[in-house]
């Protein structure tokens, strides 16, 4: 009659790692900074960036960590090319997106270091990972920065140091819609929020589900708030609002516009504008229903583009998937974008030098283009070309007009922990104040758990 306390904890955790359902609240996907122009910039000399990656005498196997919310195909293609050229293999380990940060931190604290890893965007990651002690510093490294668009490079700098090499493209959150359904019902993307509701009513009257929310999976329901944030909350709290939240000088619960987002999401449910079984909604089913034209719109991130391409083909994504931002009460709203992910190399990685070499290899123009060919997006490298999806062209227009803003999650060091759980409860009981307070308290709890100043 012994209770295997420690052992079962270890077993439980091992299982946790395997059985976790995929996605974490939009911490995935790649993207570039505001003002990142696409393929227009002049190409820099390709040879400058190509570091000598010749065949190594003793081939090694590098470990590369990535969140399972990321598309791995473009990486495996580059890694194959790298192996051909150098003989070094790259083992790609895909970890659950929702716990990616903490699984990474755990590996750091136990000394089980990867050789390199892909991290979510932003210099706030430097704080989290204690970069000055743990990570390789890149600012003086040759063959890295030649082709990176300068604004993108600048966004990586903190106190003159750079611990992450940006890699990927601009990501976006907002409303993705089935253009065929819009054409059938005879509606256009909305001019303001009321317009969005009117459109939804028309679609409902035509017997089609206006919106789909993946409440069962949890994370998709957060997109409503994150894409709504840049449209509603940012203008209200101003440019230093995020700073105040970072220092815990402003409470989420005290921002009326945050509360308004809860009210608005409840309104969609109460008006019957969401799918029938709201609580059972999953990301996977959303893709099916939207692809089949049974659902018109979803608050989503651009990961859906490559998913839909897998399920319904390139033509569908090219012709039938559109994007518009979360509309404000007065205009079409602000597009929410995410900066590019970043490649990081632990200073004490077993194969540190080979990993640095691999990063340089990945930055070579051919490999950058191979990445965008597999995973179209607004490029962050000079001279890189990418065929954008129409939905990405749509968001580029907003970026070019200066109507875009970076995901609030990329600007805050503490996270919106258990937000998905809060929202599931909210979909059950519809209690705005309870949900708002829980959201606010959990943010503070995370700041405290991360030992951030001010919390």
């Amino acid at each position: 009659m012994k209770k295997t306390s420690k052992i079962s904890l270890a077993a439980a955790l091992g299982l946790a790692a395997t059985s976790l359902a995929a996605c974490g609240g939009g911490n995935g996907n790649d993207g570039a900074n505001a003002g990142a122009s696409s393929s227009a910039a002049p190409p820099a000399s390709a040879s400058a960036s190509a570091s000598a990656s010749t065949k190594a005498k003793d081939p090694v196997t590098l470990t590369f960590l990535i969140s399972n919310t990321e598309d791995t195909a473009p990486f495996t293609k580059i890694f194959d090319a790298y192996e051909k050229q150098t003989g070094n293999k790259v083992e790609l380990q895909s970890l659950p997106g929702g716990d990616y940060d903490n699984l990474l931190m755990t590996r750091f604290s136990t000394g089980d270091l990867p050789d390199l890893f892909l991290m979510q965007p932003g210099t706030k990651q430097y704080v989290k990972l204690r970069a000055d002690e743990t990570l390789h510093e890149w600012s003086g490294e040759s063959g890295v920065w030649d082709n990176v668009i300068d604004t993108i490079k600048q966004a990586q700098v903190q106190d003159g140091k750079i611990y992450g090499v940006p890699y990927g493209s601009t990501g976006m959150y907002g409303v993705f819609y089935n253009k065929d359904v819009f054409a059938k019902v005879g509606v256009q993307p909305p001019k303001n929020y009321q317009d969005l509701l009117d459109i939804a009513e028309k679609i409902k009257a035509a017997g089609i589900t206006p919106f789909y929310e993946g409440v069962k999976d949890g994370w998709p329901a957060q997109v409503f708030y994150l894409s709504g944030w840049v449209t509603e909350v940012d203008p209200a709290i101003g440019p230093d609002g995020a700073e105040k939240l970072n220092a815990n000088q402003l409470k989420l619960a005290d921002i009326p516009q945050v509360k308004d987002l809860f009210v608005k999401q409840k309104e969609l449910k109460d008006k019957g504008l969401l799918q029938k079984s709201v609580l059972a909604g999953t990301y996977d089913e959303l893709q099916n229903e939207m692809g089949e034209g049974k659902v018109a719109m979803a608050f989503m991130l651009d990961g859906i583009l490559s998913q839909m391409e897998k399920k319904f083909g390139k033509d569908f994504v090219q012709n039938s998937l559109g994007y518009f931002p979360f509309p404000s009460d007065t205009d079409a709203g602000t597009a929410m974008i995410t900066p590019p992910n970043q490649l990081m190399v632990p200073e004490k990685a077993k194969h540190r030098d080979a990993a640095i070499d691999l990063v340089k290899f990945m930055l070579q123009p051919d490999n950058v283009n191979s990445f965008y060919a597999e995973h179209p997006g607004i490029p962050i490298f000079k001279g890189a070309t990418s065929t954008l999806y129409p939905a990405q062209e749509d968001v580029k227009k907003f970026i070019d007009e200066g109507k875009s803003q970076i995901n609030i999650q990329n600007r805050l060091t503490a996270s919106f922990v258990d937000f998905a759980k809060t929202l599931q409860n909210f979909f059950i009981d519809g209690d705005v104040d309870k949900a708002l307070n829980e959201f606010s308290t959990n943010y503070q709890k995370d700041g405290k758990a991360k030992l951030l100043p001010g919390f």
Binding site: M1, S8, G98, S277, K450
Partner: protein, 289 residues
């Protein structure tokens, strides 16, 4: 014949492994539950009872506690009722007896994670076979969103786990039934005892050792439930099916190692506090043959 005793040192290798990988970590774990061990901090400090103080103010603990106890009670009772019933039926001379035994035992061999994913599909409110069958038979009014309606979620998890574990209880009871002397049952029959009274006065008391094993195993196992809840609902919707281990997983994944260990220790105490008296009570009623 003299009874020879093996020397004690024969047990040392096993004892060493046990001490090193079980006893020692357990004690270290107890210590860490009194610290602020956190993956975001570089140092670990002793903080006394702070973790426990914070823990007992947390409403999620109460939810996890209630759900764990409901789950454990339901699974323990029903698993044994179903297990005994299955064992009695499949102890009779039936056609296909061995095939049926195999069929009922099979779910226990499948990984809970796999079962969980299969049942997610079975329980789907629109496309799942449960609701489709109900609608087919004109019982559409009984169709529920089994895993996502807070009223039904825990019930559905319990049913799934019962499907998985009842076959195991059956096998243990079947083994126990083989040890009941046939002549005892036959003489009772001749004396005119009904099936029920034979079960009540002969079979059930003599099954006591199997009963003890089964009850204890299912009690401990079900209080430590994790995979099934994780896969079916992740403790949701919201926190409605939160159990101890889903709660521990969530704090652990936030990097609060010390705090998570404290929750685990609470569960350890709880399992001991329930398990030991149950074991003692049941040992008492076991009959020597």
């Amino acid at each position: 014949m003299e009874s020879r005793k093996y020397p004690l040192y024969f047990s040392f290798p096993a004892l060493l492994v046990f001490l090193l990988f079980f006893i020692a970590p357990t004690f270290v774990g107890v210590y860490y539950s009194f610290t602020d061990w956190n993956i975001h901090a570089q140092t670990v400090h002793f903080i006394g009872l702070d973790n426990y103080r914070a823990l007992f103010q947390e409403p999620r603990l109460k939810t996890a506690l209630v759900n764990t106890l409901v789950f454990a009670a339901a699974v323990t009772v029903l698993q044994n009722v179903i297990g005994i019933a299955l064992a009695l039926v499949l102890n009779e001379k039936l056609k296909l007896r061995n095939v049926l035994r195999l069929i009922f035992f099979m779910p226990y061999v499948i990984a809970p994670v796999v079962i969980g994913y299969v049942f997610r599909a079975i329980y789907h409110p629109d496309h799942g076979i449960v609701n489709r069958a109900l609608r087919e038979f004109g019982l559409g009014a009984l169709a529920q969103d089994w895993l996502n309606d807070p009223k039904w979620a825990l019930f559905s998890i319990i049913m799934t786990d019962l499907w998985r574990v009842s076959g195991f209880a059956m096998v243990v009871y079947l083994a126990g039934l083989q040890f009941i002397p046939k002549d005892l049952l036959e003489s009772a029959s001749i004396d005119g005892a009904s099936y029920w009274s034979r079960f009540r006065h002969i079979v059930f008391p003599l099954l006591a050792p199997s009963f003890t094993v089964n009850v204890l195993l299912s009690l401990i196992g079900s209080m430590k439930v994790f995979e099934m809840v994780m896969v079916l609902t992740e403790g949701g919707p919201g926190y409605t099916t939160e159990v101890f281990y889903t709660y521990i997983r969530s704090t652990f994944s936030m990097g609060q190692m010390g705090y998570s260990t404290a929750i685990n220790l609470v569960l350890f105490v709880l399992v001991t506090a329930i398990g030991v008296p149950v074991l003692m009570a049941m040992k008492k009623r076991e009959v020597d043959m």
